[in-house]
Symmetry: C2
Subunit: 332 residues, 2 copies
């Protein structure tokens, strides 16, 4: 592991997922684009919640899921994200702290905004369609960034979703600058094609300014970012903008490009894909764990694939099996 | 189905389950009796929650689970139970209403007591150990019993757990008397052996007064109630006290005794038992659904076994599969 106190410090939207099994006709009736994440306001969240079926509440949030994966793989993880002083805030803080993640972001009053929730609709094909009410999460300010904590982490990991709300965007840039001043690595995920469409210029600026050392994307996101029509061209174009590019390809595996060298790996076998929520988040967790352990690219990619395969085999975006044991068994 | 507006009206503690996978050593360290339900106060709930692992929140409560099962089997179900006007109260109300259950109990202020939660610790052997903080649930009063609703249900179903808190006990007795005055059936479950130990005299009085028409128990509970040492003797003794006795026997199936006639059925096959929380609740749901459909005892028992088998195959005490389709497939 790294010689810093933390291997990875993740910053992201602190969100409780409300997961509900549904069918395609419900998505059609509600006019929802399958597989996407959209932001909803309180009224729309209430309306959609009223129409959807029973849910199970599980802590989520992209970077929070990644932190959970890193901790469950035996790494030292931290998390910064904003919850309110309400019951869902209790749930979020409990879940993240109970697996050994350092989480000390002071809560904000529920009266200002309640803890964020994401209404996750899972169709029989295991795809998830997400409707996020950001609530308190959008009120993460630069003051919530603990400078010492950022300096104490070998890698700072940020989610592209965090670019959506205004104040967290500034907090993220501040954290990047602290990390780089302390000669730490900065990793960033593009999160979602719609997110890339909303913030392409901002994301390209981050890359152009050298603010990102490791970029995570899936196939659709790397195509959206580069505007290229085929994957290989898009990968080459994106890899030219960042020292280390990691692209996940669902059932086709994953690849990484570093210093002009490209490594491809196949996907891990999964008996039954139940809910793809968190696949990318857990892939990032596995990859970053491998990097923190000083493993080569191909092994880091495989740990990512093993962690992703676990999380898509059940409902919810946090691992349930013993990830460390799984990696030891499959990778040695 | 019945000619009343509702097939079954369930009254019980309205509880959100916080389900966490754990191991036997955790139960030992905490001094918890595996498989039991104990009541905890707010301080103990907070302490235990702090020590336990990450959870998933799913609406539960014994009679609430039974109502959910009945609704998902196509029956018309109602539920009476007390939640607070807090986020977990929102979750509870949403989950029960979203599957078509009539639920109109007015909420009480969170400042009085928050919505009840049950910390459910599930060990690798699929047994659940429950720690219930009753919160708002113990403040269900007789005023919450809607006389018209009770009269409109063919069967009133009550959980033994409801005998623990003082005010709901009175509410339960009032509901029984309304139901019987309207010539409705009253069903009652003994809930838990510790619950029987706490309230044996109260339960025997209910039976002696003819206030119960259908009694549900598992093997341990029927032994505890009657004080007999072997199952057949205990079943005969309990059957003498109630018109219809139903006893669940886990992997040994179930039996019913009515008018001196005993019917036994085997358990349904389950690929993998994950979490036994809710097995008894869903058995009751299936059995009562069968009765409401006018089916014979053996078929009612089998619907109970099918519903129980579904709920123990995953975490959480509410059905996830299409129970109606399952019953149609297995029973015709």
């Amino acid at each position: 592991m790294t010689d810093t106190r933390l291997d990875v410090l993740c910053i992201g939207n602190a969100i409780v997922d409300v997961i509900s099994a549904t069918d395609d006709s419900f998505l059609e009736r509600e006019g929802l684009a399958k597989g996407s994440m959209r932001l909803v306001d309180a009224d729309e969240a209430t309306r959609l919640y009223r129409n959807m079926g029973p849910g199970r509440e599980v802590s989520g949030g992209s970077a929070g899921n990644t932190a959970a994966g890193i901790a469950m793989l035996g790494g030292k993880a931290g998390f910064i994200g904003q919850v309110a002083d309400d019951q869902l805030g209790d749930v979020y803080a409990h879940d993240i702290q109970s697996i050994g993640i350092e989480f000390a972001t002071p809560r904000r009053p529920q009266a200002e905004a309640p803890t964020a929730r994401c209404l996750v609709l899972v169709t029989p094909d295991a795809q998830r369609t997400m409707n996020t009410f950001l609530g308190a999460a959008q009120n993460l300010t630069v003051e919530a960034i603990d400078e010492a904590q950022v300096k104490d982490a070998a890698i700072l990991y940020l989610e592209g979703y965090l670019w959506d709300p205004e104040r967290p965007r500034a907090a993220m840039v501040k954290a990047i600058d602290i990390a780089h001043a302390a000669e730490r690595k900065v990793a960033f995920t593009l999160s979602d094609t719609f997110c890339v469409d909303r913030h392409r210029d901002g994301f390209l600026d981050l890359l152009g300014q050298g603010r990102v050392d490791i970029l995570f994307a899936n196939e659709a996101e790397v195509l959206a970012l580069t505007g290229e029509g085929d994957l290989d061209t898009a990968v080459a174009a994106a890899a030219a903008k960042v020292p280390l590019l990691v692209v996940t390809r669902s059932e086709h595996g994953a690849l990484a490009v570093e210093g002009g060298r490209r490594v491809d790996i196949p996907a891990e076998p999964v008996a039954k894909v139940v809910d793809t929520t968190g696949a990318g988040d857990l892939f990032a967790a596995g990859f970053l764990s491998g990097q923190a352990q000083g493993r080569p690219l191909d092994e880091s990619l495989r740990i990512g694939a093993i962690a992703a395969a676990e999380v898509i085999s059940h409902y919810g975006a946090r691992p349930e099996a013993d990830l460390k044991a799984l990696v030891a068994e499959r990778l040695g």
